[in-house]
């Protein structure tokens, strides 16, 4: 697909409405790349003029900072802010709640001030403004979907409604897990846990969460974070359910539902 970079736009003398911050998972992880492509497809269909940083994008530093490595975080932040400020970035949308949190809450103290929104909020805006239209005969209609709250959207930033509103626009049955919203159970990936073995315990966090998702008997688990997606997929796979519950990002669900 044709996706412009900021450098290309700059060379052409144009500016995007919004920068799509893809994030490391969205860029490199095979599963998360599908989410990235689904979201880019939606942006195209909605006629949003967007760009990516492409090769100029680098890790926000979130996992390093949460592991305790402030030096590495500051180095990455410095680099990213230099790049974005040079392009005079005003608005950013990202499909990763960790990138979202860092860009929105932590970069301002370092001189990076942008209007940052998560893709579920952006999707809500697109739906409400009519820029994308949900097909009346969309394939999710009548299905049961449970939404797994990402900690970095939910508790970290109090975003509970946008992802739910987007899902509800599909005419589906939204079934909540036992622990949801501000009580939602973590998938186990945050705080740089994604990049190490879990500590010794009686079970894995993602297995516990997968059990809660399976309990709802939903047809699909909707996620809004590439890391949650991986953890939930692994957890459910490990439970070897007869009925395979598929874990999909909200962007993937919407991409298949719009006219």
């Amino acid at each position: 697909m044709k996706v412009s970079t900021m450098a290309e736009m700059m060379a052409a003398g144009t500016k995007p409405e919004v920068l799509f911050w893809v994030g490391c998972a969205g860029s490199f992880d095979q599963r998360a790349q599908k989410i990235t492509k689904a979201f880019a497809t939606i942006l195209d269909k909605a006629g949003v003029v967007y760009a990516i940083l492409g090769k100029e994008e680098a890790c926000t530093g979130d996992p390093a900072r949460r592991a305790g490595n402030e030096f590495m975080f500051q180095m990455m932040a410095y680099q990213n802010i230099q790049v974005m400020n040079a392009y005079e970035i005003k608005k950013i949308v990202t499909t990763c709640p960790h990138c979202f949190n860092t860009l929105k809450n932590e970069y301002p103290a370092l001189g990076g001030n942008y209007d940052v929104i998560h893709h579920t909020q952006f999707l809500q805006e697109l739906i409400e403004s009519g820029k994308i239209k949900i097909s009346d005969s969309n394939e999710w209609k009548g299905k049961t979907i449970t939404y797994h709250d990402s900690c970095y959207l939910g508790r970290a930033n109090d975003i509970y409604e946008a992802p739910r509103k987007v899902l509800e626009s599909l005419d589906i049955e939204l079934k909540e897990m036992r622990r949801c919203k501000s009580k939602g159970l973590c998938c186990g990936a945050g705080g740089a846990q994604m990049f190490k073995e879990e500590e010794k315990g009686t079970t894995r966090i993602n297995m516990d969460r997968a059990d809660e998702a399976i309990e709802t008997k939903a047809n699909f688990v909707a996620s809004a974070c590439p890391f949650c997606n991986t953890m939930m997929t692994d957890g459910i796979k490990n439970r070897d359910e007869e009925v395979k519950t598929e874990v999909l990002d909200i962007a993937e669900i919407i991409a298949k539902a719009i006219q």
Binding site: E57, K183, C186, R209
Partner: protein, 424 residues
């Protein structure tokens, strides 16, 4: 006789308040051993938190039945204690029910409402005692509470039960009054003569007030200190989004000067210690958190690491911080200033394995009814582990070097970052 008892009572009162005040000042000093941090902005939002979280106990209402019982204890405590004013005046001046003639018809209404509350408190305490000791609730069975903390919790409830009992007995044994609840006890005292009744009333009065003084002085050593500190702790609670981590300006500047050496001051001070190894390296708010903790364990019950059997327990993080701070405080009391005792919060109280299990999900912060952030302490200790001790699991070292060399936590070629655009 009344004159002497007035003197004795006055002296005891002064001693009780003196010891309590002195201990509070010690706690204040201990809290200020923490790093300075400015938390005085946005007073309106802060007062709102005091009203909602401390006075209104908003977080308690995440579990309504327990919240109602706790509210009874809380309202009972505040309202019944207004009666203390009369008790203290009576004690000093040898008067008997000092306010009675002045308040007229209002007096029995007040005492009747105190008595109803006292009964409710009595019942709520009995319920909480049995809930703690008979019902098998995971957060009360946890090893965090083994030993003194479990006794502390039971002792508080037992003392409240005794104090309420004494208050009702004192009223029952007073023939000059007849109140709604204590009148139920009166039949049991009907065989006693006026002198015996007077002795019972006086004894109940003395044990009640001395019990309250004792309880007051027990507070600073107990988890029950939250009844005082919940209020300032709500005021100073973070107003930032919970996902935002505190920025380390020293590190920010180090990186800035490395990138743009022309900005570096010529006489730059050596960088501070990175992260927290001991309580003095934490912020004063972290330390106030530790003293505010009531060890209820809502944090640990919600913690994904704790509930899946990992060693980490946010409640233990808070209890360890308070324990260590008390040790440091006593060290200062004994030596005039802190003498290195070769120990620290990190390693001697909180182990690396505990810290490594945190997913920074903020569930502990969300649950805490008294605005504590255990996660903040975990992160500061992690910073010390990584930046002072270079102590990281090998996978994290790999992740760090990937970020440094490949600009992503995995080992992918940076040039492939936009490869997805070329896939079908």
């Amino acid at each position: 006789m009344e004159f002497i008892s007035g003197i004795v009572f006055s002296i005891l009162s002064v001693i009780a308040f003196y010891i309590f005040g002195k201990k509070l000042l010690t706690i204040k000093r201990n809290i200020h051993l923490g790093r300075p941090v400015e938390l005085n902005d946005q007073p309106i939002a802060r007062w709102k938190n005091v009203f909602l979280l401390a006075l209104g106990q908003k977080k308690m209402f995440r579990n309504i039945p327990v919240a109602v019982l706790h509210l009874i204890l809380y309202v009972g405590f505040i309202i019944i204690n207004t009666e203390l004013l009369e008790i203290i005046i009576d004690g000093i001046f040898g008067t008997h029910r000092f306010f009675k003639p002045y308040l007229g018809a209002l007096y029995p209404i007040l005492i009747n409402s105190f008595e109803v509350l006292a009964l409710l408190v009595f019942v709520a305490c009995l319920f909480f005692l049995s809930r703690r000791n008979i019902l098998r609730i995971k957060r009360f069975l946890s090893n965090d509470l083994t030993g003194w903390p479990k006794t502390d919790a039971n002792l508080i409830l037992a003392i409240e039960i005794v104090l309420m009992g004494l208050f009702l007995l004192m009223n029952a044994a007073d023939p000059s009054v007849n109140f709604i609840i204590s009148s139920w006890i009166k039949p049991a005292l009907s065989n006693l003569d006026a002198h015996q009744l007077h002795t019972i009333e006086q004894t109940a009065w003395w044990i009640h007030i001395l019990g309250i003084y004792g309880f007051m002085n027990y507070l600073p050593y107990s988890k029950h200190l939250h009844i005082v500190l919940a209020f300032p702790n709500a005021y100073y609670a973070s107003l930032e989004p919970k996902g935002k981590m505190h920025n380390m300006v020293a590190v920010q500047n180090e990186v800035l000067y490395a990138m743009q050496p022309e900005l570096a001051p010529t006489n730059a001070a050596p960088p501070e210690k990175f992260g927290a190894k001991d309580v003095m390296d934490l912020s004063w708010k972290n330390l106030m958190d530790a003293y505010s903790c009531t060890e209820c364990g809502r944090c640990s019950a919600a913690c994904p690491a704790n509930s899946t059997g990992k060693l980490l327990s946010p409640r233990k993080i808070m209890m360890d911080t308070r324990d260590r701070l008390e040790i440091v405080g006593k060290n200062i009391d004994a030596n005039g200033q802190f003498e290195d005792d070769g120990k620290s919060l990190l390693n001697d109280h909180i182990t690396i394995e505990e810290l490594r299990a945190c997913t920074t999900c903020n569930a502990c912060v969300e649950e805490c009814p008294v605005s504590i952030s255990p996660m903040d302490i975990i992160i500061e200790l992690r910073r010390s582990l990584i930046m002072e001790d270079s102590n990281a699991p090998s996978e994290w070292n790999g992740m760090f070097s990937n970020i440094e060399n490949n600009f992503a936590p995995w080992k992918f070629a940076p040039d492939d970052r936009d490869a997805w655009t070329k896939q079908s």
